[in-house]
């Protein structure tokens, strides 16, 4: 594997363009756009303040840079480097900023989630959406970019509004049967909206595009509930990862659980293959861990060679028992990702230091990223994927 030279970056802000041709990265208050193949700098933009958030528009023509401290959003064009656009929220403040799917509207969430302002780059119109909900995932767009679902809260009750993205018309507005809605997500086919409740209550509601409640699902009571939710690319399955360390999969026909995957501490099923990372150099006597990061020696640019060997079963996975008397404990399924061909589901349980999971489009390899390490897994489709 070849690596390029190291480029400066601030704030972990670096994104590929949706068409895969450019790479945008920020250094302090400058935005650098490079060509993906040559990594040559194509454009260099200067913003007014330190950039906190960048986002490409869907057609890869514009980039927005949000500066929350000053409540500014600046939009840059790749086609016309001279074109500029500055949106100032002023005293309303800025907490979040994102593009609409058509790439011509910017949705700014003002401070204290007072309102969402929809700025249009085509017309002079401005729209306001009142009472958006301050939660983890309150806005979600359908994959084809037609509809937007927004979570709202009025009078201590949760509501969902569905807008038509072309003219920002309110299509549906309905109340949800949740205590304290934490996240919403459209299915990839754009017809079902999954809504899940706070972790104090395990509850998932499924709404149709026109606002009808299709089904609710609740696996258990009283213990901490849903931690992460993801749809399969074909919209056939909904995977729910919860704090009890289990993934439950619902099917799209009956919305009932079809299977449940546990994450036991000891792996003893003979069909599972466990790859253990073993260091070739005998420097540190680290008992090899099944997942990248050795917690002890976190050396940047470490040159120890490691290799993977197949561990013999039963294998007990090293886990740290996290503190359970604090809020938001680091237990349970924190990350879920379906492979693009619907074959596999990758999950991260517990306290493993995997920061991101990413599938390749062909569905046969998986990239894992931790703070210091990077791991590529290739899967053979004959056997099932192992838990690693």
């Amino acid at each position: 594997m070849n690596f390029s030279e190291v480029f400066k970056l601030s704030g972990l802000l670096s994104k590929f363009s949706p068409d895969g041709k450019y790479l945008a990265s920020c250094v302090q208050y400058r935005l650098v756009v490079r060509d993906v193949n040559t990594l040559q700098i194509l454009q260099l933009y200067t913003c007014l303040d330190q950039i906190q958030h960048i986002e490409w528009s869907a057609d890869s023509l514009f980039i927005l840079c949000a500066m929350y401290k000053r409540g500014l959003v600046q939009v840059w064009s790749l086609e016309q480097p001279d074109w500029h656009c500055k949106i100032d929220e002023g005293s309303a403040g800025l907490v979040a900023s994102c593009w609409s799917p058509d790439g011509r509207h910017i949705l700014n969430t003002t401070e204290f989630h007072l309102r969402i302002t929809v700025w249009s780059l085509c017309t002079k119109s401005v729209s306001y959406i009142k009472y958006p909900k301050a939660c983890q995932q309150g806005i979600t767009f359908t994959r084809d970019g037609r509809y937007m679902a927004l979570a709202e809260r009025r009078d201590c009750r949760d509501y969902i509004s569905i807008f038509v993205c072309s003219d920002w018309q309110l299509l549906r507005h309905f109340e949800t049967d949740t205590q304290d809605l934490v996240g919403i997500e459209w299915a990839p086919n754009g017809c079902v909206l999954a809504v899940w409740d706070t972790c104090l209550e395990y509850k998932i509601l499924l709404y149709s595009l026109d606002g009808r409640l299709l089904s609710t699902y609740s696996a258990y009571e009283w213990s901490l509930g849903v931690k992460s939710v993801t749809w399969s690319p074909s919209s056939q399955f909904l995977a729910i990862g919860s704090y009890d360390g289990k993934v439950r999969i619902l099917n799209h026909v009956t919305w009932k659980m079809i299977t449940e995957f546990g994450h036991p501490a000891t792996v003893s099923n003979p069909k599972i293959v466990v790859y253990k990372e073993a260091e070739k150099s005998p420097k540190l006597g680290l008992g090899a861990l099944p997942f990248p990061p050795p917690r002890a020696a976190a050396r940047p640019f470490s040159t120890t060679e490691t290799k993977y060997e197949i561990a013999s079963l039963p294998v007990s996975l090293q886990t740290l028992k996290p503190v359970t008397d604090r809020a938001n404990p680091r237990i349970g399924i924190g990350m879920l990702a379906f492979s693009p061909d619907n074959y596999f589901l990758a999950t991260r349980n517990g306290d493993f230091h995997v920061l991101s999971l990413c599938w390749h489009l062909s569905g046969d390899s998986l990239a894992l990223l931790s703070k210091d390490h990077f791991c590529l897994c290739f899967l053979e489709t004959e056997e099932g994927a192992g838990t690693a």
Partner: protein, 615 residues
């Protein structure tokens, strides 16, 4: 027997003593001592004989003893020992006979008594041993009874203890459940409390937000603005539209359309799946039926005729159902039910069949390998082992062969050698093929040559024949002219001759051949006839010198004609026609003889040519 009455005789005190001893001993309770003594006493010992017997009767008291004995015997029913005497006199004579008889009788009695005694003794012994045995049994049983009673008590005790424990555990469980319920209630109440508090705080927060919102909106900050260089066009290039009721309706419609599309798509998928599954089920059913039906044809050994009958009827039913289902193939309720029911039925039958087979197998294992159909397990295993060995060997062979082949193919490293060795395995064959090909070509050439020569020869032959014909014709004509006078027919023939030129024979021939010549495919026939007739008439012809002459002068003419014709024609029919035309034209010329000849000969040549062309 021991109850002899002791008749105490004063004189016989000693004897009586002995006797009483004797009798008393006989009266004693059964014991070995007693029996021994009895046995002893029953067999008189030789030593004591005299003393014993002399104790009773001595020389002094013979009379007394005799009288005593007589008394005793008579009381026992024996006859008197004395002789019959008339008067009551004191001295009576001893009846020796009577004495002997009495002795004998006594001996017999003694023996009988002894036997009886023995029997009694054995019986006694038996009874004694039986008693012993029964006593020991009794003792044992008593012991057993005791132990079992003790055990029972112990078990009862344990049972009681366990029941106690059980009750305790139940109690504990109930307590735990109650506690759990209590805790849940506590949690619920706390949750409601928290919710209430949350709501209160949220309301407060909302109020703050409202206030803030008002402030923010009121300020009308000029700063809240967008500063844009120029407005960008829409992504889809269209113009923006006003928001009206129409657009709202349109949006609704679109939304519903999307939903409907999705539902339809899903329904299609499900229908497809359904159809596939139904097909699979049908197939399964058919296969199950086919599996089960050949079994039923075998004569059933087990007494399962009832199920057999049922299953056969099932098969028939299912066959009928199959037809019905295939005709309809709808997804209506009844059809679905029918399908599932029939599958279930078949499955049950199959299951019972498999169970029967299992039983059969187990029976075979128990009884031994009687059944011919059933292969013994060991044989089966041996066979499988053998087969596996064979497979392994074959695989190894294949591997080695592959390796060798690869080696062979891989040994060529250089380009030259590879290019040389390319297709090396087929080289031989290629060369052979080349040789054969060259051979073939040669042969072909030869054949061509021969063919050409044949055609030339045929042509020559034809020409010669034609010439010959001409000569013959002229000769015949001359003959005819010399011999006969002109008739009407002859004039006609002459006319014909002028048109076609030929003698009577020839005229007949021509007349025959003319219509035939007109029909192209019968040219050959006509010509054949010609040739045959000509050949017949040949021997009658004169010398050929004239013919040669005529032939030579004709040959050029006709040859050219033939040559003209043969390369041009393609079909035999056309040949015939063209020749006809030629003949007609030829006939019109003055050289009528030649023309007539040429007509026939041409026909002949045509036939030859035809024959050449045909194969």
């Amino acid at each position: 027997m021991g109850d002899w009455m002791t008749v105490t005789d004063p004189g016989l005190s000693s004897e009586s003593k002995n006797l009483s001893q004797y009798t008393s001993e006989t009266k004693m309770s059964p014991s070995s001592l007693y029996s021994h003594q009895v046995l002893c006493s029953s067999i008189p010992l030789s030593k004591n004989v005299h003393s014993f017997f002399s104790a009773f009767c001595t020389e002094e008291n013979i009379e007394q003893s005799i009288s005593y004995l007589d008394q005793e015997l008579t009381t026992f029913g024996f006859p008197s020992l004395y002789e019959e005497s008339e008067g009551k006199e004191e001295k009576r004579e001893l009846n020796i006979v009577a004495v002997l008889n009495c002795m004998n009788e006594l001996l017999v009695l003694q023996r009988k008594n002894l036997l009886a005694q023995e029997n009694v003794e054995t019986q006694n012994l038996k009874l004694g041993s039986d008693m012993d045995h029964l006593q020991s049994c009794y003792a044992k049983l008593k012991e057993q009874l005791e132990t079992s009673r003790r055990e029972m008590i112990g078990l009862q005790e344990r049972d009681r203890q366990l029941q106690c424990k059980n009750r305790n555990l139940h109690q504990l469980l109930k307590n735990e459940k109650d506690e759990v319920q209590k805790l849940q209630n506590i949690i619920a109440s706390r949750a409601t409390q928290y919710n209430h508090d949350m709501k209160r705080k949220e309301r407060e927060y909302n109020k703050l937000k409202e206030r803030l919102h008002q402030l923010v909106m009121n300020k009308k900050d000029k700063k809240i603005a967008m500063d844009i260089l120029n407005y960008v066009g829409r992504a889809d290039g269209k113009r923006g539209s006003w928001r009206t009721g129409k657009t709202e309706a349109r949006n609704e419609d679109e939304m519903y359309k999307i939903l409907l599309n999705d539902y339809e798509y899903r329904q299609k998928q499900i229908l497809m799946e359904n159809a596939e599954l139904k097909k699979v089920l049908q197939q399964m059913k058919k296969e199950m039926i086919s599996l089960l039906s050949p079994q039923k044809q075998k004569p059933r050994e087990r007494a399962d005729d009832s199920t057999g009958a049922v299953s056969i009827s099932d098969v028939e039913d299912d066959a009928g159902e199959l037809n019905r289902e295939s005709i309809w193939d709808l997804s209506c309720e009844t059809v679905r039910e029918q399908l599932t029911n029939s599958i279930r039925k078949q499955w049950r039958i199959l299951k019972s069949h498999v169970e029967k087979l299992d039983n059969q197998v187990s029976k075979v294992h128990l009884e031994g390998f009687h059944d011919e159909d059933v292969i013994s397990r060991q044989d089966h295993e041996q066979e499988t082992e053998k087969l596996e060995l064979e497979i392994q060997q074959c695989k190894e062979m294949i591997k080695t062969q592959q390796q060798l082949l690869q080696q062979q193919l891989a040994t060529a490293c250089d380009d030259d050698t590879t290019s040389l060795l390319r297709d090396c395995y087929l080289l031989e064959e290629k060369e052979r093929l080349k040789e054969e090909w060259s051979l073939f070509k040669e042969q072909k050439k030869n054949f061509e040559r021969e063919r050409r020569s044949f055609t030339e020869a045929a042509i020559r032959l034809g020409l010669e024949r034609k010439a010959f014909e001409e000569e013959r014709a002229s000769w015949l004509k001359q003959q005819f002219l010399n011999m006969t006078t002109f008739d009407h027919q002859n004039s006609e023939n002459v006319k014909l001759f002028s048109a076609f030129s030929g003698s009577s024979d020839r005229d007949n021939l021509t007349v025959h051949s003319r219509p035939r010549q007109k029909k192209p495919h019968s040219v050959s026939n006509g010509s054949q006839v010609c040739t045959s007739k000509l050949t017949k008439s040949l021997p009658a012809s004169p010398s050929t010198s004239d013919f040669c002459q005529t032939r030579s002068c004709v040959s050029e003419h006709s040859l050219s004609n033939v040559l003209n014709i043969t390369p041009e024609e393609t079909k035999p029919h056309q040949v015939g026609r063209e020749c006809l035309n030629q003949t007609w034209s030829l006939a019109s010329r003055p050289g009528s003889q030649e023309g007539g000849c040429s007509g026939c000969s041409l026909a002949c040549t045509n036939s030859h040519v035809d024959k050449d062309d045909l194969p």
